[in-house]
């Protein structure tokens, strides 16, 4: 039907006055309404990031007087900070994997078996208040005088040994991103008709077969989206290693960047680290947007 597109186009044909000059056209009015948001994004997001990249190419504080462009900062990053980058990626990947392993069954139970979903969602907002309180609270839990120390001691577990450990950092990172993982997997699972599982069961599939042959393939996009989203968040981890980690975990890029930039005022190096982190986070986001067909359908 040649006229079908006309019906679609109606969405924009609401202007009542006949457009005469450019400034009276719907397009111009739309752009005017967008202007404040675009200005904010340009001034405080795009321009600072471009400027960050420029600074990362300068030496010491030379940008302040007369900029000398050099790749020294990146040379330093690649000669001295590769282990730090590795540690960052390792922590993010491990925490996200833990998140996925525990989050998948959680999302499944939440979607299929639970009637008190509102309660679960309400409690799930606690981690969203931020990793700082989370790390702070866990710090106390892991202190020798902590509230659960006695309880775990009866099982022969000394909780205090986990203070300033990789395990504590990973656990707090996983808890922080848990809601994001559950959200993504849950969204995918809620689109899977329970009838499919029943059909598989009546065809003689065992529970693990139902998982590997029905649920897993159908929720694959949610798994990928959740994994990448949480991985992206975890790459920027800051508070958890600082409060709960050992010096090894504290070598993550975000913390390094803070010390290089705001404590030692080596802006060039901090900027180079920032650019590296940004590139990694962007790559992850870019891939995840391919998978998630996000909330905006964009």
């Amino acid at each position: 039907m040649t006229h079908a597109p006309a019906e679609v186009a109606l969405e924009y044909e609401t202007a009542t006055e006949r457009p005469r000059r450019f400034w009276a056209t719907p397009r111009a009015r739309g752009l005017t309404l967008l202007l404040p948001a675009v200005l904010v994004a340009l001034l405080f997001s795009l321009i600072p990031l471009v400027y960050l990249f420029q600074i990362s190419l300068t030496n010491d504080s030379s940008f302040f007087f007369e900029a000398e462009y050099t790749l020294d900062n990146y040379r330093e990053v690649f000669s001295r900070y590769v282990p730090a980058i590795g540690e960052t990626v390792y922590l993010a990947a491990a925490a996200t994997l833990i998140c996925l392993l525990f989050g998948y069954p959680f999302a499944y139970i939440l979607i299929r078996k639970i009637r008190y979903r509102e309660l679960v969602r309400t409690l799930m907002t606690f981690p969203l208040f931020g990793p700082l309180y989370l790390a702070f609270g866990l710090f106390y839990v892991l202190l020798p005088t902590g509230p659960l120390g006695g309880f775990f001691a009866t099982f022969g577990i000394d909780l205090a040994q986990y203070l300033f450990s990789t395990a504590a950092v990973l656990f707090s990172m996983a808890v922080f991103t848990f809601p994001f993982m559950v959200m993504n997997i849950g969204a995918a699972l809620s689109n899977v008709d329970p009838m499919l599982e029943e059909a598989a069961r009546t065809l003689g599939a065992k529970p693990w077969q139902i998982f590997t042959r029905v649920l897993f393939p159908l929720s694959w996009s949610g798994i990928v989206a959740g994994f990448l989203m949480c991985f992206g968040w975890n790459l920027g981890v800051f508070a958890q290693p600082q409060l709960l980690g050992s010096p090894k975990e504290q070598s993550v890029i975000s913390l390094q960047m803070y010390f290089k930039g705001l404590v030692q005022f080596n802006y060039g190096l901090a900027a180079a680290l920032g650019v590296i982190l940004m590139v990694m986070a962007f790559a992850v986001t870019w891939i995840s947007l391919r998978f998630s067909r996000g909330a905006l359908g964009a």
């Binding site: 739309g30 702070f136 106390y140 808890v175 803070y258 909330a295």
Partner: protein
């Protein structure tokens, strides 16, 4: 479907073992969810407990005198910056969402990605880029202006997205009906669209509140001595003074306020308006 299967099971052979397994499985499933709910609440409960204990192990509220004493200014500043950010976010997000959904804008998806750029930027990167730009490009280091600008750019996409979703779900006919009944564009907006977009806008307000009120990382980079928010104070105190009940009291207060705001929102709108933005 689970109940149906459970009722049907006893008719088959060997059914007692099966339904027993099923009950056990269900119990484990619920237990698993409850265990995680405990984990979610654990850090908060631990902080709360710590804030109420003296070094001698007695219960006391004395740590909370600091919350309304020396932390008062930080808390006020947090409320102030949060409210200011929400207002600015609304002022720039509502027109932008309206333009994106209702007007023919060239390169819409590219534009949206640019607006959402800050969502994908790690907080520390945003912090370092802003601290450098504020100091050497805009010359507004360590100011309230800079702080608010950082908050706005970091969170207005969280406001924008729910409003876009709500506006997209809102059929054009309401707007057209209002227009043909004689309402001007402004009357249509205030009398019809705003009330119908209420939940979407509130979701954006909630997200902005929860994030900005508890933000410490970008703040750590951008804030100056005069602009220490409560969340940043928690961080600073933990770094400098170690682990103190007074700090725990402040952290508890912050989380309680945030949680009350969440509960209020869920009470009025339910959690479905956060769909596609943050939670399921």
């Amino acid at each position: 479907m689970a109940t149906l299967a459970a009722e049907a099971a006893p008719t088959g052979p060997g059914s007692t073992g099966r339904s027993g397994l099923r009950v056990l499985g269900n119990a484990l499933a619920h237990g698993y969810v409850w265990a995680w709910m405990a984990v979610f609440a654990l850090p908060f409960l631990a902080t709360l407990t710590y804030s109420l204990r003296t070094p001698q192990g007695e219960w006391t509220l004395s740590a909370y005198q600091y919350v309304f004493g020396s932390f008062r200014e930080n808390l006020l500043l947090s409320f102030q910056t949060t409210v200011l950010t929400i207002v600015i976010n609304l002022l720039i997000s509502i027109p932008a969402a309206y333009a994106i959904v209702r007007y023919p804008i060239p390169g819409k998806s590219f534009l949206l990605s640019t607006l959402n750029l800050s969502l994908y930027t790690p907080a520390a990167v945003m912090g370092i880029s802003l601290v450098i730009a504020f100091a050497f490009l805009f010359r507004i280091p360590q100011t309230m202006t800079g702080l608010i600008a950082a908050y706005v750019v970091g969170t207005f996409p969280l406001m924008l997205v729910p409003i876009i979703v709500a506006l997209r779900d809102l059929p054009m006919v309401f707007e057209e009906a209002a227009r043909t009944l004689g309402a001007t564009r402004m009357q249509t907006f205030w009398r019809v669209e705003m009330p119908l977009l209420g939940p979407g806008i509130s979701a954006g307000v909630l997200l902005t509140f929860v994030i900005i009120f508890n933000e410490f990382l970008v703040t750590l980079f951008v804030a100056g001595p005069g602009t220490t928010t409560a969340a940043l104070r928690v961080y600073n105190l933990t770094r400098t003074a170690g682990f103190q009940p007074s700090t725990a009291a402040l952290a508890t207060t912050m989380q309680l306020v945030s949680f009350l705001v969440v509960l209020t929102f869920f009470h009025f709108f339910g959690s479905r308006y956060l769909k596609g933005t943050y939670l399921i």
